[in-house]
Structures are given as structure tokens and as C-alpha cells.
Amino acid sequence: MNLLRGAVIFLGLLAVWQALVSLTGVESFILPGPLAVARALASRWSLLAENAGVTILEILLGLACGSLLGAASALLIAAFRPARQWLLPVLVVSQAIPVFALAPLLVLWFGYGLASKVAMATLIIYFPVTAAFYDGLKRTEPGWLDLARTMGGSRLAVLRVIRIPAALPALASGLRVATAVAPIGAVVGEWVGSSAGLGYMMLHANARLQIDVMFAALFVLAAFAVLLYFAVDRLLRLALPWQSEET
């Protein structure tokens, strides 16, 4: 039922778009109609697929690095008081720097290839994951901690057996945010300097007024981002079947 509604909304928007283009007679280098975009999608398919592969790899690698680093930092901060006292202020202050402003630097340091985009995606993901997981680790139900204290568990055992599992739903929401923003990091990285990827293709097409190709690349990117989000959301739900009762 939901799938049907989604399809209706999608097709409806396409119809409105096509009607707008046909009625106003707007130039195709300003706004191409969906039919023109579909034609570009079909004729440039192999090129699109090749560049999409690069961008998808950047997104997935960035997602993996950012999530692992973020989760590890949150654990470190939650488990060790010195880490909390020294690292947390640095983390908070670092968030005042707009990550996009670092993109040229990252390209300078890591080159035009994959590494600078992965670094960009990692940076943009890192903080939401760290913040969400640390928040979850901090908010353990006090009753559970009382219980553990009377049972005589060590601090590390309490962290492993109670606090980390209890914080997993919070980590999951951090990962959902990360999944949604990871493509932004990869594409911004490509815009600043690259030789392949959907962002690179969009810049290139834009310079040549091939706006239909630009839209085709955008469509592929959006389709992958949506698919990725739903896949991650589904996986997280499967991994934490008990959390739906909790939240």
C-alpha cells in the first residue's frame, strides 16, 4: 500500500514537472523535462554507472570509517574520565568549523582521488555518530546501574553488559543521520577537486550546459541515497528487535 502511494506521488511529481516544462516553454538548458532526463539517463547509462560506482564506494567507505571512529570515540569518552575531560571540549569546539570549508584542504592533503572524499564523508559523519552514541551511554537507566552495583559488577563489565547494549538504539539513530549525510560529504569532496564520480560528472555537465545529464546524475545519486537509507534502517531494525518497544 505504501509502495503504491510512493509510486503515485513519484509519477504525479513527474507529470507536474513535464506539464510545467511544456506549458512555459522554458529552455532545456535551464530546466529539461523528465523525458529529456530519461533520455540522457538511457544514452549515458554506462558513463553514469561508472561514476556512480566511484561515488558509492566513497560513501560506503566514509560511512564505515566515520561510524567506527565515532563509536570508538564515544566509548572512550564514556569509559575514561580523562578522555572525557580532555577530548570532549575539543570535539565540541571542532564543530564550530564548517566541515565544507575544510574540503579544499582535504583535497590538498589527500589528493584528487578516493581518499579526500572518504575523509570528507568521514568528517561529516563522525560527530553525529559520536554525539548520539555518547548520549546513549550517558543515559543508562539509573535503576539498572543500582542493580549492577548490588550485584558487584566491575565498571568494565557494567559497560559491556548493560551500558553499551542500552545505548545501541541511540547509536542506531546516529547511524541513520550518518547515512543521510554521507552522500553530501562525498559529493562536496568531488566538487572541490576530483577526476571521477557523480559530483565530478555534474560539474562537467554543468560547464557544458548539458543540464539533462546533470539531472540524470542527480537522479542516480538520490536514488542510491534513498535505497541506502532504507537498507540501513531495515538492518538496524533487524539488529535491535527489542527497541521498538522501548521508544
Binding site: 535503576g143 548490588t150 550485584m151 558487584g152 559488577g153 563489565a157 553488559v161 547494549p165 527489542w242
Partner: protein
């Protein structure tokens, strides 16, 4: 920790010169409490009087503030090092907080762990959950609380009464000689509560139990001794003391007592009036 020896002989608990304050207001000070060995002591009193604080103090979950100057009497120091006055100790003067099992009003079940996983929480925290003997014992306790066959279920699939029975099994799995219970049945409906009181009294036999409750009938069904806590700062007074399981002069049967027993009902009326007076005292002072 040899758990077998822990339960061998019931131990009495003594609390001497305990003091606790909250935001400058003294909840109680110079408070003495004795829990007779292997018996159930019920602690009644108006809400907010400090019953839970007292229980948490015995469990070692709240730090006692008593006699920081060191002039609080003998200080209850026995065998080894000096304990701060107001620490709950046994007959030999040793601190009891590491021999305590704790059960709260909420079941505090971990939602991601199975029934068996929750009952084995203590062993898991201490790294003992691989011991087949301990697992076997946990399964036995689950059967005793009537949940045989539900070992692998998640708590979300259980009713409130079942969840609290899992909590009871978890408390018993600790196999501690002292059990501290903070209104463990108050969130349950009357019928479930009735069945669970019966079960708890049977399974907690021979352990030293402190049961905090606001229900006089519950106290009269389960308690060998009933203590009323009232006032601000709070004082304790004994309202019932039937340490022998046989009723004797008091004509009260051994717990769990039948709520229809004429003597239980008569005492319930007395206790209610006493509690009403105790609450007025608290209100007068605030």
C-alpha cells in the same frame, strides 16, 4: 565468593546512628534499625518519609552521612578495618552491603536479554555465567516462579506480573542471605500481587528480608516484624513483632498469612489508623 556458605546461616542486620539529608533537610538522623536473621521485616510509612532512602543506605547505594567527626559511638567497627558509623553490619560487625540482593518496584529487566539472560545478569556481570551449575540453578528458579518454557522470551512478550516474577527469580539467583525489596509488588493488579506475595514468602524463607511497602495488608501477610517509619526527621517504631513462626499469644499464623484471618484483619485496622496518624504528623511539620 562461596555462595553456598552465604546462605548457610541467616544473618541479622544492624544499622546504628544512620543519618541522611536531602538538600539541607534532614530525612533521618541517629536512626537505629535491626533486621532479625532469617525473617521478613516490613517497613511501612507515608510516602516521602524516607523508606526507600533507608533501604538504599543498607544496600550501599547511598552514602551514609552519620558521624563524619568520628564521635558517633563505637561506630560499629568489628573484625577488620574501621567502618563509618551508620553502615549496615551483621552480628560480627562486618559490613553487609556485598551480601545483599536488591529488588525494586520496576522490574528493571533488560529489554534486549531473554528471561534466562536477565536471571543470569548478576553472574554475567561477575563473569560466572558460563558455569553450568549456575545456569542450571537459574533455570530451576525460572521454573519455581512458574515461567518454565519461557526462558528464551524477551521481556516485552511477558505480562507485568510475569516480568516481576522474572525479577524475583533474578533476585533469588544472587543467592544472597539478605534481600532488600522496595515496593516490589505495588505496580501489579490485586490478584497478581496476591499470588506473587505468596510465592515470594515461600521462596524467601530463611533469608533476612527488608520489604518496603505502603500496603498494610501486604505487611501483615508477609512480615514477621512490622516497623512504621514516620515524622521529619523520621523515627522508627515497631508495630508488630512475631518472630516465632508459630503465632503464640498473638494468634497469627506463619507468613504468608491468609488475608481473611480475623486477627490479620483486626490488625490491619489498627495499622491503618496508626499510619493515618503518622501521615498527619508529617503534614503538621511541613
Amino acid at each position: 565468593m562461596n555462595t553456598a556458605a552465604d546462605t548457610a546461616a541467616p544473618i541479622a542486620v544492624h544499622l546504628h546512628a544512620a543519618r541522611l539529608s536531602y538538600r539541607g533537610a534532614v530525612i533521618f538522623e541517629d536512626l537505629d534499625l535491626d533486621l532479625p536473621a532469617g525473617r521478613i521485616t516490613c517497613l511501612l510509612g507515608p510516602s516521602g518519609v524516607g523508606k526507600t532512602s533507608l533501604l538504599r543506605l543498607i544496600a550501599g547505594l547511598t552514602d551514609n552521612e552519620g558521624g563524619d567527626g568520628g564521635d558517633g559511638g563505637d561506630g560499629g567497627n568489628g573484625g577488620g578495618g574501621t567502618l563509618p558509623p551508620g553502615t549496615a553490619v551483621d552480628q560480627a560487625g562486618r559490613a553487609v552491603q556485598d551480601r545483599v540482593a536488591y529488588m525494586a518496584q520496576q522490574d528493571l529487566l533488560l529489554p534486549w536479554a531473554s528471561v534466562l539472560g536477565n536471571v543470569l545478569l548478576g553472574p554475567r556481570l561477575r563473569g560466572e555465567d558460563r558455569d553450568p551449575e549456575i545456569v542450571q540453578r537459574a533455570r530451576g528458579l525460572i521454573a519455581q516462579v512458574g515461567l518454565k518454557g519461557r526462558e528464551e522470551d524477551l521481556p516485552a512478550r511477558l505480562s507485568g506480573g510475569m516480568r516481576q516474577r522474572v525479577a524475583l527469580a533474578r533476585t533469588l539467583a544472587e543467592n544472597r542471605p539478605i534481600v532488600l525489596m522496595d515496593e516490589p509488588f505495588s505496580a501489579l493488579d490485586a490478584i497478581t500481587r496476591f499470588a506473587l506475595q505468596e510465592l515470594a514468602a515461600r521462596l524467601l524463607a530463611e533469608r533476612t528480608v527488608l520489604l518496603v511497602t505502603h500496603d498494610p495488608l501486604e505487611a501483615l501477610r508477609l512480615g514477621h516484624r512490622i516497623t512504621v517509619m514516620a515524622g521529619s526527621p523520621a523515627r522508627l517504631e515497631t508495630a508488630l513483632d512475631v518472630l516465632d513462626d508459630v503465632g503464640g499469644a498473638d494468634e497469627l499464623p506463619a507468613p504468608p498469612r491468609d488475608p481473611g484471618n480475623a486477627n490479620v484483619l483486626a490488625r490491619q485496622a489498627d495499622l491503618l489508623k496508626r499510619l493515618a496518624r503518622a501521615r498527619e504528623n508529617v503534614l503538621d511539620l511541613t
